[in-house]
Symmetry: C2
């Protein structure tokens, strides 16, 4: 039905969420969803995410597994001033380099006066792996990056600022674009034809997400890929399918 266009450049990433509070269910993670969307704006596709506890061995092994496999790794969490903030230590270990004090971060932390004990704790946040660059943070001490690993705060407001500051500073691939349309049809009703449409555009992901609203079954159909013309054609095919099944295509969205 449609030939795939020339293969676009794909830049991949993994997100590594570090923190007992996410694994215990105490804190609801929202960083993955934010990062996935922001990185896609930057032309980087998140292919995997992991959540690990504040345990050195787990963090080191996971960072090394992920950085070998994806173009980028973005971590969140564990870069504060307390004993359970071990991310910088772990990244240094993963890369086999020393942890050093960044004069730039140290100067920044020393700007606001504090008793010696408090300043000593704060200075923990100046430690970065040797050779690391900094990630801007208007709200406090910077994050850092070394190799293809970007290390950011866990607090969503701070993480978002850090992620936003990376605009234009990363290798750019094709952004994934999307189309979606909703119909009051059950998934089973669309399943066979949907499979046929998927087969016709193998380079575009076609996902179906069922819901129930006012006691009626509905399905949202989401197309994701880098081929804009293909996405439009696929959206037409899906919309025609919905009409052919006696329903109405609703809430069409392009992203």
């Amino acid at each position: 039905m449609s030939a795939a266009p020339a293969q676009p450049t794909v830049v991949t990433a993994a997100v590594l969420i570090i923190g007992n509070e996410i694994l215990s269910g105490r804190t609801q993670d929202t960083n993955l969803a934010y990062l996935a969307k922001k990185l896609n704006e930057y032309g980087i596709q998140v292919r995997e995410a992991r959540v690990v506890p504040d345990i050195e061995r787990e963090i080191v092994d996971t960072v090394n597994a992920l950085r070998a496999r994806y173009d980028y790794v973005f971590t969140t969490g564990g870069i504060g001033p307390t004993h359970d903030d071990i991310t910088a230590d772990c990244i240094a270990k993963a890369f086999g380099v020393e942890l050093v004090v960044s004069p730039e971060i140290a100067a920044l932390l020393q700007r606001r006066p504090a008793p010696p004990e408090v300043m000593a704790a704060r200075m923990r946040m100046a430690r970065i792996p040797q050779g690391a660059g900094l990630i801007d943070n208007p709200l406090g001490p910077p994050g850092f990056h070394i190799g293809n690993v970007y290390v950011m705060a866990g607090i969503p407001r701070v993480m978002q600022q850090m992620a936003d500051s990376l605009a234009g500073k990363l290798k750019r691939g094709a952004s994934v674009r999307s189309r979606s349309v909703t119909a009051f049809l059950a998934e089973s009703q669309v399943a066979r034809r949907l499979g046929e449409i998927q087969d016709a555009w193998p380079h575009i992901d076609l996902g179906s997400y069922p819901f129930q609203r006012d006691d009626r079954y509905g399905t949202t159909l989401v197309m994701r890929g880098t081929d804009e013309a293909g996405l439009d054609a696929m959206l037409d095919a899906v919309s025609q399918m919905i009409v052919a099944l006696g329903a109405e295509p609703q809430d069409v969205q392009r992203g």
Copy 2:
């Protein structure tokens, strides 16, 4: 300061979230947090979580890595009737068994009449790996379990019913209990003493989570472990530290 009590039985789990919609940021996952809390009620500790796309190889490899490492693996997503629902196929491949039709699920699906095409799609949800048992679902077709892997729906409302139905059916270890207390102190202010308290109770995790409210810096201190007496003693120590630093222990919670 306090000796660790006899090592309690620990039962571990990983959560595997399957679905492009989570990795794209289109859908905010809430299943991990729900499962972490529910499984802890069952005496099972979630030690890792992963999010993978709807790609067979990724799912198969990840299931095999996780089931070898943890007592249990709980998956969510990919068990509907459409072409992108490949979890059952992947679990069968991971275990090296055939995918078979469950007569029990088939009978259930056939109860509600449908045109042949719709019924054929629906029957996709009757396919389970040979030898699998079922997970109850009052809202629709069951999930299934094979070996130490439990396969559940991605829709939170349905997943929750399935998870709830597992009460009393899993190996039980020690539940992790918690204490938490909040103070209007910055993390840097509590950091040194917090490290000392952590050292005194090495078998209890002491986490610190900073926040900003009404332009004031605060920190919530969370203790998690299986030793109730240790938790109480640690909470006392943390509360005394807060008072010693000139602040007030607030919002004490026991969980």
